[in-house]
Symmetry: C2
Subunit: 308 residues, 2 copies
């Protein structure tokens, strides 16, 4: 297996085998119509024990949302109650709750219908799909030099992946913002780029998706979809951290980016967005990468749950 395929597999950790007997529970909608999340046994046990009016255990390890929670509003209220109680009683057992931000994410029913709102830090416990935007800031190739990417190093004070390399700009899709609005907001907060410049130059170029398993959190299953953008920088523009999440920005030639990918210096999911960039810009090709086709497939994994 090639280096780059290993990097993809280190982020897209959830098995692909169709006949796998899963050890986790499937979170089903109140009508049983769709699976909308993956819940690991330690979380399932606590939820069933403490909140019998939230989930019901059915055969085949299915956890159905209580049919009485028949509207988006009823479900969101119940989930807010569960989340806030667990935060008080289970914060050591479920450390994701330490990242509480009072920021609401949305879970979806089939046909892109909003199904419930959920606190961002609680969402990984239900294993629903989470969304973000990731932006590749780059300076195009010129006569003298090849294309270069602006790569930030995460602050060493970040609770997750401190000090690792990241995408130029990235953020979660919360608070009811759409991808474009999120991209504009994060571009200013993380890199100091003015709204008017972003709105004229930001190009949406696809999405990258995978199912991560968070070992630090007891194996929480995290299906994620990132909307991907390219943003052309002029030579004069220097990204400047505003909100303290980034320690420093480097302007890197693609050869150096590839080397740092292979050294595992990137946050795992950001590595995937960089690999996608290198493929779209013709730097990784079928001729120089043995596992090219498998990498392209896996970067666009169908997470198997209803989506936005």
């Amino acid at each position: 297996m090639s280096q780059l395929l290993s990097i993809v597999k280190e982020c897209d950790l959830f098995p692909y085998e169709q006949d796998l007997k899963p050890s986790h529970y499937l979170l089903k909608t109140h009508d049983g119509r769709a699976t909308i999340g993956h819940i690991i046994p330690t979380v399932a046990t606590e939820l069933l024990d403490k909140f019998p009016d939230f989930l019901t255990l059915k055969p085949s390890k299915e956890l159905w949302i209580n049919p009485k929670l028949s509207t988006e509003s009823l479900r969101s209220t119940k989930i807010a109650e569960v989340a806030s109680q667990l935060r008080q009683t289970h914060i050591e057992q479920f450390p994701t709750l330490k990242g509480w931000r009072a920021e609401l994410y949305t879970a979806y029913y089939p046909n892109h219908t909003k199904y419930f709102q959920i606190e961002r830090a609680f969402a990984p416990l239900l294993g629903i799909v989470m969304y973000g935007v990731h932006i590749n800031g780059y300076i195009p190739a010129s006569e003298e030099e090849g294309l270069k990417l602006w790569i930030p190093r995460r602050s060493i004070h970040k609770p997750t992946f401190p000090g690792m390399l990241d995408n130029t700009i990235a953020g979660g899709l919360g608070g009811g913002l759409d991808p474009l609005e999120t991209a504009v907001k994060e571009s200013y907060e993380e890199a100091g780029i003015e709204q008017s410049y972003i709105r004229h130059n930001l190009k949406q170029v696809g999405s990258v998706s995978y199912i991560y398993i968070c070992q630090d959190e007891g194996g929480l299953i995290q299906p994620e979809i990132q909307y991907v953008y390219d943003l052309k920088f002029t030579k004069e523009m220097i990204p400047t951290p505003i909100d303290g999440e980034v320690q420093e920005f480097y302007l890197m030639p693609l050869g150096e980016v590839l080397q740092k990918l292979n050294n595992r210096e990137f946050k795992p999911n950001c590595a995937l967005v960089v690999i996608d960039f290198l493929i779209r810009h013709g730097f990784i090709t079928a001729e120089n990468e043995a596992d090219y086709l498998e990498i392209v497939h896996r970067l666009h994994r169908n997470v198997g749950l209803p989506t936005r």
Copy 2:
């Protein structure tokens, strides 16, 4: 479902459901290690009846290649014999054989190992993965005008999809050529573009994959992977058909391209490559396309068989 998602599904026809009981047979390697193709019942019956030393029927509708065919060379020789005999006796029953070109394609074992060579026109009967290159020739946006794509109309004399719109340049990966060499060769043959220009300007940008079902051929299952390239044209360059496969080239603004996609004027698999182009260039976005994420996933379907 959106128009564009319908277009993707009209090409990516093979069902996704994991628990589907398939009516077709699985072509297995001689050691049973991997499934390498999908064979429909009418073809399976003839092969088992006429060539008992080629395939053996096993439980679960598996067709194993005879274990005596233990080398690439033995398998290729046997397959050439089967193909050539069927061409003499079954050409009306299996019309794909009318497209005989004496051009060899390669089937793969896991880890990208070559498994056998096979006549291009016979390959669809075994339902192995077939590969091609598809090139989007475009003129970048300027101050005055938006980006435009060069779109050819297929000759009305082509046996398949006569008169439909196509990608600027496209061709199958045969005769032992790699994707880049195929791209260079087809660019000259189909559009009269000089080697030196292509080699300097062609950019590989990913792949598009799907599993087509050919209704005209009794439902043959055709997993296909297309290597995708973008090729920037100067305003002075006019593509010129050399080999007669193309009737005419049009230079189309993207709005017109989208309209012709929606009118189903494109050959089904070429429509997917165009949709991928429109996504990568920011013309189709999450904001203007309701099924954006599902479209991105399906354009990069994992065909579930070993690949190049």
